[in-house]
């Protein structure tokens, strides 16, 4: 689901630009942000779905653990993801 993946990238860009926040994200936090962003599309989005898409953008070992609820985001992985999906993300 490419739309969900781009939305997660946008959320990660916002968070990493804010220096007061550590580079850790809770699953529920992402869900809240997504539901605020597009309540019509993500009204029934599951946390399992978010996790599966999140791993593809940030393939860090800790994120892949079965029971993890806190995800790590890194600038390096993010820049890689932006480059990979660059044809999809518009000019900011």
């Amino acid at each position: 689901m490419i739309i969900l993946r781009i939305d997660i990238i946008e959320i990660a860009i916002e968070l990493l630009s804010d220096k007061t926040i550590k580079n850790k994200l809770r699953n529920s936090q992402i869900e809240k942000k997504l539901k605020y962003k597009n309540p019509l599309l993500y009204s029934n989005v599951s946390r399992q779905k978010i996790k599966s898409e999140f791993i593809k953008i940030f393939p860090i070992h800790n994120n892949k653990k079965k029971r993890t609820k806190i995800f790590k985001i890194s600038k390096k992985q993010l820049t890689k993801a932006i480059r990979y999906y660059s044809y999809t993300i518009g000019k900011k």
Partner: protein, 480 residues
């Protein structure tokens, strides 16, 4: 025969009948259906789309060049009460052309949505006062309220018309962002009308917008219409047998039996609608071809040309040659307006006689305004170079400098070309160098094709060269 004294009255009639269809039918919506011309296959297609739209929740895209009639096509659906009631639809209009202000547009939209929720007995209570500060929170509130309601509770299927978004330009995506959640939902359908440059901008921007606005949508493409019948339809206002009931309140003075407007048409030998259908008006085929090609099918511009040329024929009635009766069913006397008159009409170089002292709404562009020492036309060569090189790269400048143009002058012309007010030239757009290595003009040139038509037409006009002078050498001859 001179009509010089009554020319102001004629002008009133022409300006009235060549208005946009929506303005013309502001007081009478029935009039809209009477004057709406052609587009029946497209209309039947959109009906078949709207029939199933409630189950699928598809979005619809209407593509067409400037002035082809996208807005009037969408309003044709809106004014059709029977269709809207049968398919159980609820249309909402977001017309940027009406307000020309983002905030006012969104505030109107919020109040419309609020009214709809009241009508279906599911009022929304979470909205704040409808002011500029609260727009974002209110729109989010609307989206949240919609996500809670089931399809059965919604009763009617919402249709959001997004019209005239071409005027937004740089602010387009920040504005379209507000409607993106609505477009992604199955409960609502969005109908977006765009010009080709805006269509390509959405395609390039972001795959989310691409999916919901351009690729995964039902699309209708509007082609330019035949001008002659369209013009007749507009001039038929006076001759229409039912018009007396419709226009009584609006233009009672046009409808007297002795009115100047009816006399005007009788000059061309027309007294009823059947005859009007047969006659070719004062325009020859060449002239109509000119209208179509030079304006790229833009109806607004065609009306402007028609207005000017009809006034011109009345002023110079005795001077212009008339064509004799043909087998084509032409009634006569028909005036022969050709390219020679076009140049007399729409150029500024001509000497004005006492009769011609009125402002023309249309103007031809002078390609020989800027010339090099070798007497090569700068604008003509730049247009050619855009077509050949596509980008403003080193080769682009080098080839033009070979023709004797300086770099500053070239940049100056590129700015003129990219200015949208000069509608006869390419409505190109300069992208800043930070984003891409070279500035790209060809995309916009290609999508509109206007500059191309202009070049091909004018190169074969002897009359144009007689007035403005020769263009000099072509760029292609140097390259080879």
């Amino acid at each position: 025969m001179s009509y010089f004294d009554k020319i102001d009255d004629y002008k009133l009639f022409f300006t009235f009948s060549f208005q946009t269809l929506r303005k013309l039918s502001q007081e009478d919506k029935e009039l809209f259906n009477d004057l709406f011309y052609n587009r029946t296959p497209e209309y039947h297609r959109i009906i078949s789309m709207l029939r199933n739209i409630k189950n699928r929740g598809d979005n619809i895209l209407i593509i067409g060049d400037a002035g082809v009639g996208k807005s009037s096509f969408t309003y044709r659906i809106l004014y059709d009460n029977k269709l809207i009631n049968d398919f159980n639809l609820y249309p909402l209009i977001v017309d940027y052309g009406d307000c020309l202000n983002k905030n006012i547009c969104l505030m109107n939209f919020i109040s419309d949505m609020e009214r709809y929720f009241k009508e279906i007995n599911n009022p929304i209570n979470t909205l704040l006062n409808n002011t500029e500060k609260n727009i974002d929170t209110n729109i989010h509130g609307l989206q949240k309220h919609l996500s809670i309601l089931s399809r059965e509770n919604l009763q009617k299927h919402l249709l959001i018309f997004l019209d005239d978004f071409d005027y937004l330009e740089e602010n387009l995506f920040s504005f379209l962002k507000n409607f993106f959640p609505f477009a992604s939902s199955n409960k609502i359908s969005v109908i977006l009308s765009v010009r080709p440059p805006l269509y390509s901008a959405i395609e390039c921007y972001d795959s989310r917008y691409k999916i919901f606005f351009t690729s995964d949508v039902q699309r209708i493409e509007l082609q330019p219409m035949t001008t002659q019948k369209l013009l007749k339809k507009r001039l038929a206002v006076v001759l229409h047998p039912e018009s007396q009931n419709i226009y009584r309140t609006i233009v009672s003075k046009f409808l007297n039996e002795n009115s100047v407007y009816k006399k005007l048409l009788s000059i061309y030998g027309i007294t009823n609608i059947e005859q009007l259908e047969k006659i070719h008006l004062p325009f020859t085929h060449l002239y109509l071809n000119f209208m179509n090609s030079i304006t790229n099918g833009n109806i607004r511009e065609i009306f402007e040309i028609a207005y000017d040329s009809l006034v011109y024929t009345l002023l110079h009635y005795d001077d212009i040659d008339s064509i004799e009766e043909d087998d084509d069913g032409i009634i006569a006397p028909r005036k022969n307006l050709d390219n020679k008159h076009v140049i007399l009409l729409f150029t500024e170089n001509q000497t004005l006689t006492h009769k011609d002292k009125y402002k023309r709404t249309y103007r031809l562009f002078n390609l020989n305004e800027f010339k090099s020492r070798n007497k090569n036309s700068l604008i003509y060569n730049v247009l050619e170079a855009i077509k050949i090189y596509e980008y403003l790269n080193v080769e682009f400048y080098e080839s033009l400098e070979m023709m004797g143009h300086s770099k500053d002058a070239i940049n100056k012309i590129v700015k003129i070309i990219s200015n949208k007010k000069n509608r006869l030239i390419v409505p190109a757009k300069i992208i800043p160098k930070e984003d891409r290595e070279t500035t790209l003009l060809y995309e916009h040139y290609k999508t509109t094709m206007k500059g191309d038509y202009y070049l091909t037409n004018i190169a074969y006009w002897k009359e144009y060269i007689e007035v403005f002078g020769d263009f000099g050498n072509s760029l292609r001859s140097k390259i080879i």
